[in-house]
């Protein structure tokens, strides 16, 4: 193969890997949107909060240390060497379940039967509350996340692909970040597990039932509140995984919550109600923006990745507003 072709291939592979990460964030939105019709603006902040909590447990930070120090004049910071990664992750999952319970108990319960726009505004409020709360609890400084995932270039892949080039072309091989590969692997595993769970278990069926028809779900004896707690918990797990991946990549900091915005074009492409849609949408955006940057980006002065996804989404809205896999709404006039 010629080096040019291999370059394009490299761009596509990296695009796919980036796309999986986008899908992961979009998945959190789809889960909550399907089950309750709420567009959860706080999904990105949930990822940030989960990542902050995980790092906090790992490093043994005392929650609200700053507040306690200010009030009592103490100098507390850590309570010990911190927890092993595995336990820290389990504990963080527990925190996300508790969070889901509190959201239902304190917020959603009072918002039943409200218009979607009001629910949306509620989640905006929730997002800003959590952002502040996370800062207060764990401090606002940038933290590094290390959960033992591999990172850096894969030399094995580099040498292997170097051999694909035509003789004497001096092709150095493809660059693939091992962290991206690990992230993609975990994301795929998560999607498979979620799909199996929702297809073949009682609770999974209940989740699908609620997503399908609230009234019918009530009549067969499904408690909507319980389901909402479960759905927000699962969205919390997805946020945790997304938080770990993005946190490991670029540090745990406020900008982590902005990855949620990248999920928007993914959702517009894939449809708000479709899990496969979120995945395919993420892949299309990932590959699309990398290819565009590689082929045309130079002519437009670069940095097209910042806006390409949104423009693509805009075109999609014109031709297929329900998204690739979304339910088409046909209304009788």
């Amino acid at each position: 193969m010629s080096p040019e072709l291999l370059n394009v291939l490299e761009v596509i592979i990296n695009g796919l890997l980036a796309g999986v990460m986008y899908s992961l964030v979009a998945l959190g939105f789809v889960l909550i949107y399907k089950a309750s019709g709420i567009f959860n603006y706080a999904q990105g902040v949930m990822a940030l909060f989960a990542a902050l909590t995980l790092v906090g447990f790992q490093t043994g930070q005392i929650p609200f240390a700053h507040v306690i120090n200010t009030i009592f004049g103490t100098h507390l910071e850590t309570w010990g060497p911190g927890l092993p990664t595995f336990f820290a992750i389990l504990l963080t999952m527990g925190v996300m379940v508790l969070f889901a319970y509190l959201v239902e108990r304190i917020v959603l319960r009072h918002m039943v039967n409200q218009a979607p726009i009001i629910l949306f505004m509620t989640t905006i409020g929730l997002a800003y509350f959590m952002e502040g709360f996370g800062d207060l609890m764990w401090g606002a400084d940038i933290k590094t996340m290390d959960v033992g995932l591999p990172s850096g270039a894969s030399t094995w892949f580099e040498t292997m692909t170097a051999g694909w080039a035509t003789e004497g072309s001096n092709y150095p091989g493809m660059y693939v970040d091992m962290l991206d590969v690990a992230a993609a692997g975990i994301a795929i595993l998560l999607v498979v597990v979620l799909t199996l769970f929702s297809q073949y278990t009682k609770t999974g069926r209940a989740l699908r039932a609620v997503a399908d028809d609230h009234q019918a779900a009530l009549t067969v004896g499904i408690s909507l509140r319980t389901i909402w707690v479960i759905v927000w918990s699962i969205a919390g797990f997805v946020a945790l995984v997304a938080g770990i991946m993005w946190g490991a990549k670029s540090g745990v900091q406020f900008s982590l919550s902005l990855i949620a915005l990248k999920a928007l074009p993914v959702l517009i492409l894939g449809g708000f109600t479709s899990i496969p849609g979120a995945i395919v949408g993420g892949l299309i955006i990932g590959v699309g923006e990398k290819l565009f940057e590689y082929s045309i980006g130079g002519m437009l002065g670069g940095a097209t990745e910042n806006w390409f996804a949104y423009v693509l989404a805009l075109f999609f809205l014109m031709f297929r507003p329900q998204g690739l896999f979304g339910e088409r709404i046909i209304e009788r006039v």
Binding site: L196, F197, Y200, T201, K202, T203, G204, R205, A206, R208, A209, A211, D212, D213, Q215, A216, A217, L218, T219, V220, G221, I222, S223, L224, I230
Partner: protein, 266 residues
């Protein structure tokens, strides 16, 4: 004190009783001081013209509406204000006039979801899938297959119900209500919008369910003819008030009912 009907079915004690139910939406009274009972093993019909309050009555029983006054007694106990899912867990299943199925799910999944009140393994076992959760799934799957056989809907087991024609959707909805193995089955206009053949099928199913499983059934209809053949006792509502209550024959000859349905020549 079980009585026997002419065709030899057993009618038992009172299963559900509503006492002096009054339900208002703002200033509009949907139901005024309604009382009647449903006995174990019988087919009870609630009839009346459009807007008589039939569906409101059913919604009160199934917990979707909460009446301002009156009491609901189920199996000898007074019921506090309950949410629909709690009512379902007590053993009352229902169908809807305008069909409330899980349209994106297959017939099989709809029926399995109908059994949710009977399934008890916790979420951790389900996540593992093996062990109790698997055994439970298999046991319930067998029961669901029996209902599928009973209703003759084998051919559409895997079809998403949203794609089925109206009559079949009604049948699947009945199947889902049956799957709950409820003590009391509430059917809201089970024959609305059906053609003659489908109506006859549905009548047959209702009678068979009652006979074979001994399920108590309360159904709403505004087509008098169907109801008279089907039911043991009939309540007639009009403008939210109770007009008459009794056997089909008694009701048919009640002057107030004749007036409400046919109007009286002046």
């Amino acid at each position: 004190m079980a009585e026997l009907t002419q065709d030899g079915r057993k009618i038992g004690d009172i299963l559900l009783e509503v006492k002096n139910i009054t339900l208002a939406f703002g200033g509009v009274k949907a139901l005024t001081n309604i009382s009647f009972d449903i006995k174990e093993g019988e087919i009870r019909a609630i009839i009346g013209p459009n807007g008589a309050g039939k569906s409101s009555m059913l919604n009160v029983i199934s917990g979707f509406y909460h009446p301002q006054q009156g009491e609901v007694w189920f199996r000898g106990q007074k019921r506090g204000p309950m949410r629909p899912y709690e009512v379902a867990r007590q053993g009352i299943a229902r169908t809807f006039q305008n069909i409330a199925l899980f349209k994106g799910m297959s017939t099989l999944d709809n029926l399995m979801t109908g059994r949710i009140t009977q399934m008890h393994t916790n979420i951790l076992w389900q996540a593992l899938w093996k062990g109790p959760a698997e055994r439970e799934e298999i046991a319930h799957r067998e029961k669901v297959e029996r209902i599928i056989d009973f209703l003759g809907i084998q051919a559409i087991r895997k079809t998403p119900v949203g794609r089925l024609p109206y009559g079949l959707q009604k049948r699947v909805e009945l199947g889902r209500a049956l799957a709950a193995e409820a003590k009391l089955l509430l059917l809201d206009e089970p024959m609305a919008g059906m053609n003659l053949e489908e109506k006859e099928d549905m009548c047959r199913f209702i009678l068979d369910v009652n006979e074979e499983f001994g399920t108590t059934i309360a159904l709403i209809e505004h087509d008098m003819g169907v109801v008279m053949d089907l039911s043991d006792r009939v309540v007639v509502l009009d403008y939210g008030k109770k007009l008459a209550d009794g056997t089909p024959n008694e009701v048919r000859n009640d002057p107030a009912v004749i007036e409400a349905y046919l109007g009286v020549g002046h």
